[in-house]
Symmetry: C2
Subunit: 380 residues, 2 copies
């Protein structure tokens, strides 16, 4: 019989219950539910045969589990990850890895001291075949060196009623931010995973623009990759007609992803610097007008279908397979700091009203965030 | 017989020759070529029956013409417009109205003192049926108050050979800028014509990034409309696979223009603030998944065809019709300052490395531009 990883689920809320369901239904072949931890004692009855804890440290030390997943508020991810890893319990941390880079750095330091304990992060979008293909295309230099990235990802519509479900939602104290921390971390991760981290960012962030919340509901960010390449990242929670369009221009072509479903790849027959040196604009205009552009570029369009839930199951399976057989992690936990740093930089630029460099001053970010939390508490 | 406007063409280069050809071919029913002015005496033979001048002041004072068009380097547009208007000669100024707002303001002041003399600007894209329709939709509040604009207009590919055609091209002294001054003024005008002027801009401008030129070949600009609305404007001359995608999000819908050919209008059944107050994200997600989104929005797609040259002929006809019959101008000359101010603000933000407010400090811009011209001269 195949060996299975006994997972401890910290937090049986929406996300934790979903994962528990997958495992209970036998959908994760290499995993069982080892134990459940929740501060709400009523959750004990959901899986009566599974050991239940109201304190996650007790669960970590119980011997009932080999690993944990932290489906808890973002601020707690680093702390719980650290406590697990310290006890040689494998940790699958929910995204974002934390709210501020300083706390995630501490988590990464502990993880680095435990190279034999598996440390993953729940970036399920990295299992999306479209984004895996996109990363492969960029890594294999199919469109050459990147010149410009542009992602408009505004499919995160959330009404006011969503924000009013819980007091902690969309607050500095409860979540540490809005769309950057709760909805867009997947795309922020994908952007840096595929295109690399920018060196500088400048942002225009709107706090409580279309929703009655203290945190951000709209973000426009200008990225500078430091090598001439630039980018734009836009997200918001008030666009009910959400756009999802990701364009990457390279020296050798262009890729456009529409609706996270359609990948359009235009490959230049020769790198643009060569066309620049050999063709006139009249040559190009005539070829484009004439319709047969194949001397300049070829176009490939790939359509993808996505099955809901499949991504999350794959992250769980891969995490367990890493523990059991050393299968490479799709999303190593140490990668989580990139998205947190980038989101922090976007906030910080708007607070300081200037361009900020990465890596950011993590102490400064923490100090500024603390001010927001204090100001918020004073209002209440 | 219909009365015709006798047009004096200042500069019989590429553009001037095109207009002369339209008129000579009888394509502008209310216009004749009154005279031609060029500093190259060889141009005299092109239209041997038309009075020829090598000095535009002489032409203005000749009595041969009722109006002029200034198809000359950008720096000269304001001066020539001023000299014409002062002499009660109607002026159709080429775009951009000038290189720096200070000189365009002087032109506008002279024009304001001559309310009976026609003053137009050659924004032929304003005659484009697609953009006229788009302006109408916005003006009629079809998608409500604007929340966000986003235009990626990188269809301005120019190879190095283009820049090397003349010594003045793409220099501070000769043109006063690159893509912002030469290629993109149409879109900069359309953007402000349709969506209004921003209150602040922050830009990342690349000078000589992919071309060996001292001026800009790539621009990324963040716009702030001062009322919460934001925007992004991107243009460059090194993208041979040019993108032209203009998205406008409003309170009541969204419009996307693809390739200046396809207009997609999504109209919300109720304004977003109302949907925000009445629907849950689950309601919306289910409607979207189910496919029948008509309870949330309707979609209209309009395809446009454009005939090359038609736009320019229409500007000439309209200009003459304004002179003869008072037909409203498609592009009043006084509108030219908006695009120049916006382009200046984009330059200035990148030079000062900070966000700048509009209207900009026009003296400061002129001083900074003068520095660029002096530095360029020192290198040569």
């Amino acid at each position: 019989m195949m060996k299975k990883v006994r997972l401890g689920i910290i937090g049986l809320g929406t996300q934790g219950s979903t994962y528990a369901g997958f495992i209970a239904d036998g959908k994760i072949e290499n995993m069982t539910i080892g134990a459940i931890c929740d501060i709400d004692p009523a959750k004990k009855d959901v899986y009566p045969d599974v050991p239940f804890y109201d304190n996650y440290i007790d669960m970590l030390e119980s011997g009932d589990i080999d690993a944990v997943v932290t489906t808890v508020p973002h601020y707690l991810h680093p702390e719980m990850g650290i406590e697990a890893l310290k006890r040689d319990v494998h940790a699958l941390v929910e995204k974002p890895a934390g709210v501020y880079a300083k706390q995630v750095r501490e988590l990464n330091e502990v993880a680095a001291s435990k190279p034999d304990v598996t440390f993953g992060i729940f970036f399920n979008q990295r299992t999306n075949p479209l984004y895996r293909k996109l990363k492969e295309l960029i890594d294999q230099d199919e469109i050459g060196a990147i010149r410009r990235t542009n992602w408009i990802i505004t499919t995160w519509w959330r009404p006011q009623s969503y924000y009013e479900q819980s007091a902690w939602r969309a607050t500095w104290n409860g979540e540490g931010g809005g769309v950057l921390v709760n909805q867009a971390p997947h795309q922020i991760d994908l952007l840096q995973w595929i295109c690399g981290m920018p060196k500088k960012v400048y942002s225009n962030v709107k706090y409580g623009y279309q929703r009655n919340i203290p945190v951000e509901d709209e973000v426009t960010t200008l990225l500078d990759y430091g090598n001439g390449a630039t980018g734009v990242f836009i997200t918001c929670t008030h666009d009910i007609l959400g756009t999802d369009r990701f364009e990457i221009l390279g020296d050798k072509g262009k890729i456009v992803v529409d609706d996270s479903k359609t990948l359009t790849i235009k490959r230049l027959q020769k790198p643009e610097p060569e066309l620049n040196g050999t063709m006139t604009m009249q040559d190009v205009a005539e070829i484009m007008k004439g319709g047969d552009v194949s001397n300049i570029y070829t176009e490939e369009v790939i359509e993808f279908e996505s099955v809901w839930g499949g991504q999350h199951m794959e992250v769980l399976r891969n995490f367990a397979a890493n523990i059991l057989e050393g299968e490479p992690l799709i999303a190593p936990g140490s990668d989580g700091i990139h998205g947190v740093s980038l989101a922090n930089a976007i906030h910080l630029s708007s607070w300081l009203e200037k361009e900020v460099e990465l890596p950011i001053d993590e102490e400064l970010y923490f100090a500024e965030l603390t001010k927001k939390i204090e100001a918020e508490a004073a209002v209440k």
